[in-house]
């Protein structure tokens, strides 16, 4: 009888394994985590230098603002020197070293206005994560379900309707869709009160774990969530449909029918599970994309997520704050990709195998 794959794999790893440290390094999860950290470091570094390539620095920007307001250069420069800890004459490489050192200690630094970057981020980021995450859950859930239904009833009414609507909505950039929503839905048709729904929660409602607060938060998030869901669910549906159709034609589905399995069992464990596999990588990249473009949508809809902070910080050349926000966004993107890979390897035994055996 011929040798099986696992035998080959274990022999191969057995030869190479020289110690526990080596074995840990070879572990799939550990290697993915290291790779993610490396990506974060690269992005952080590139961002650090790119940001400093922007014309002007915090001091110059402050002086320019003061002078536009009528002050003299000397007085503005004196105030700036007193206000800011930032010294433009420090060598760039030293600034980078200080930044990385602080970062390793979990210190994101202080913003120009004196508050810590962590404080600044923590006021906006949760709202962005909440609205984007909530929207993705709905969009992916609805999209995958529609995709499977469309694949099972190819050429039906649902298939045609969702295909057309989904592709049209997908073609509209989400910030444009946000404008359309406000102009037509809010102003012209009066479906909602634009002034009332803006912001993340109504002034006066205590941010606590109460029904009033939670429902208020969902109410205020409904506009951005609508935008994210409507502009993405069509893509999910179409991609899932294609994936499901391919899976339905797989031999093992025919064999499963021959084996007399129930349609439900075939639909979930044989068709669904295999059809969703190629989708997971896409969920990560698409999710990151929505998160990245949320800035524009939030600005238009006046949803006080991370976008307002980022915008102000870029204008003021508030390096520390911009770096902090971008670092966190990078972290979210890299982390969701990592999560997708781990989920994928949990669902698909073949990935685990090849990653562990061949080291790639």
């Amino acid at each position: 009888m011929s040798t099986t794959a696992p035998d080959v794999a274990s022999v191969r790893t057995g030869e190479r394994t020289t110690g526990i440290a080596r074995r840990i390094l070879r572990n799939y999860v550990v290697r993915r985590v290291f790779r993610s950290l490396f990506v974060i470091w690269v992005v952080t570094t590139v961002m650090f230098f790119m940001l400093r390539l922007l014309p002007g620095n915090p001091v110059d920007t402050y002086i320019a603002t003061q002078m536009r307001a009528g002050g003299s250069y000397e007085s503005a420069a004196a105030t700036a020197a007193g206000l800011f800890t930032f010294d433009p004459s420090t060598p760039l490489i030293q600034q980078y070293g200080d930044y990385l050192w602080a970062l390793l200690h979990g210190d994101l630094g202080n913003s120009l206005t004196g508050t810590t970057v962590v404080e600044k981020i923590s006021s906006g980021l949760p709202w962005t994560l909440f609205s984007v995450g909530y929207a993705l859950l709905i969009a992916i859930g609805v999209g995958l379900l529609l995709g499977v239904l469309m694949a099972y009833r190819r050429g039906g009414v649902l298939d045609h309707t969702v295909s057309v609507i989904g592709s049209v909505l997908h073609a509209i950039p989400n910030y444009l869709f946000a404008i359309i929503l406000v102009v037509f839905g809010g102003v012209q048709l009066g479906l909602f009160d634009v002034a009332d729904i803006r912001g993340t929660y109504t002034a006066g409602v205590e941010p606590e774990l109460s029904f009033t607060f939670v429902s208020d938060a969902f109410y205020h998030a409904s506009l951005p969530v609508t935008v994210y869901v409507l502009t993405t669910f069509g893509t999910w549906a179409l991609v899932m449909k294609a994936s499901t159709i391919t899976t339905l034609e797989e031999d093992y589905v025919t064999v499963a029918r021959a084996r007399g399995l129930s349609d439900r069992r075939i639909g979930t464990q044989y068709v669904g599970r295999n059809a969703v596999l190629p989708m997971i990588a896409q969920i990560a990249t698409q999710g990151s994309f929505v998160f990245g473009t949320a800035i524009f949508v939030e600005l238009i809809l006046k949803y006080d997520g991370i976008s307002a902070e980022l915008f102000a910080a870029i204008n003021d050349r508030d390096y520390a704050t911009v770096q902090g926000i971008l670092l966190l966004m990078t972290f979210v993107v890299v982390f969701s990709n990592l999560l997708a890979e781990l989920v994928n390897s949990a669902l698909d035994p073949r990935i685990r195998e090849s990653a562990n055996g061949a080291g790639g």
Partner: protein, 362 residues
């Protein structure tokens, strides 16, 4: 051998819908009876409709395929028989695999890649035996038993994912899975294709053994005449969606009376060195959408006359036998003059061509 057929197929027709809304018949009126403990081999080229016929028997045709006519009667425990084509829903679902199971081509991914082999055995049992309260241990024990019967190591196979097994092991595991509910009929569609010769040999021997032990019937679909002659009691040759010759294995391999069967036998390279060169059948299988009006094999046939191009011959009895024993029948106007050693189309070399028949049918 009993007299009543286990599975009777009458005038079965299967058509595929094509792009322009047209229907192309892939199986054009097939009749046969399968008796208990018998093996029927369906042989023919690719595209002759033999795989479609196999899938049609279990009503597993792809979306575009439809059974357009005919009758498939299955007589399992019920002597009256049930019409397979009228079975619906959960009755059909339960009938499949517990009465008629199917072994697919070796090259196919018959197993779900994300489930362990053991889970797929359990799935199958649970789908059919819900009331018996199959415990985990029982399911595992039965799966293990079935795997041992095909000479696989259960402990290793049950906990493996399909991709961790070799092609030969997967095919054995599929046979074990097919036999787990003790079906009366096993349809095997090219079960040894894509396997190396030694593995083929082992699987054929194993099938012989299992059949002798358990007494199920087999429908063996293959283009491999040597394997067919070894496993089958009866052979039917298919061409362009029809059975064009049928009879016992010696009938077809020693004294074929249809020029196509003769051509198939002569196309097989002889096993022993020094025997005659294989001769291929000229031309290609016909386009099912544009069949010639007369005999569908006429354009490729060395015996063809004008009459062949005008009439599509029905099966004629070559040798009649009492009920329960298959008669030798051939759908050829010139069956009386067709001999394995005098096939005019290919016999230019003039050597006596008795040798390949003996090779194949020994």
């Amino acid at each position: 051998m009993t007299e009543t057929a286990l599975l009777s197929v009458r005038d079965l027709r299967v058509a595929y819908r094509t792009g322009g809304g047209r229907m192309v018949e892939a199986v054009r009126g097939v009749d046969f009876d399968l008796y208990p403990e018998q093996t029927l081999a369906l042989v023919g080229e690719s595209g002759s409709g033999k795989s479609t016929l196999g899938l049609g028997l279990l009503r597993l045709l792809p979306r575009t395929g439809h059974i357009t006519g005919g009758e498939v009667v299955y007589r399992g425990s019920d002597p009256e028989g049930t019409d397979v084509l009228r079975m619906e829903g959960s009755r059909l679902r339960r009938w499949r695999w517990s009465e008629v199971a199917m072994v697919f081509q070796g090259a196919m991914n018959a197993f779900n890649p994300v489930l362990k082999v053991g889970d797929q055995f359990a799935d199958t049992m649970r789908a059919h035996l819900p009331r018996q309260r199959l415990g985990k241990a029982q399911v595992r024990e039965r799966s293990a038993e079935s795997l041992r019967a095909v000479r696989l190591e259960p402990g290793q196979v049950l906990d493996s994912y399909p991709h961790e097994l070799s092609g030969g092991m997967r095919q054995r595991a599929l046979i074990a899975l097919a036999l787990i509910l003790e079906p009366r009929v096993l349809v095997l569609d090219e079960p040894t294709t894509a396997l190396d010769l030694l593995t083929q040999r082992a699987i054929v021997d194993m099938l012989q053994e299992l059949r002798a032990e358990r007494g199920f019937s087999m429908i063996f679909i293959s283009h491999d005449l040597a394997l067919a002659s070894e496993l089958a009691d009866r052979v039917a040759t298919m061409y362009a969606g029809r059975i064009i010759e049928s009879g016992t294995t010696p009938d077809l391999f020693r004294a074929p009376r249809h020029p196509y069967t003769v051509g198939l036998i002569r196309a097989v390279p002889p096993v022993r060195a020094g025997a005659v060169e294989p001769v291929s059948i000229p031309g290609a299988p016909p386009n099912l959408a544009q069949l010639p009006p007369g005999c569908s094999f006429a354009p490729r046939c060395g015996h063809a006359t004008d009459a062949c191009e005008a009439t599509d011959p029905a099966l004629r009895t070559v040798e009649a036998r009492p009920a329960g024993q298959p008669s030798h029948e051939a759908a050829c106007l010139h069956w009386e003059s067709v001999r394995l050693d005098t096939a005019p189309a290919a016999a230019q070399d003039g050597t006596p061509n008795d040798a390949p028949a003996k090779e194949v049918a020994q």
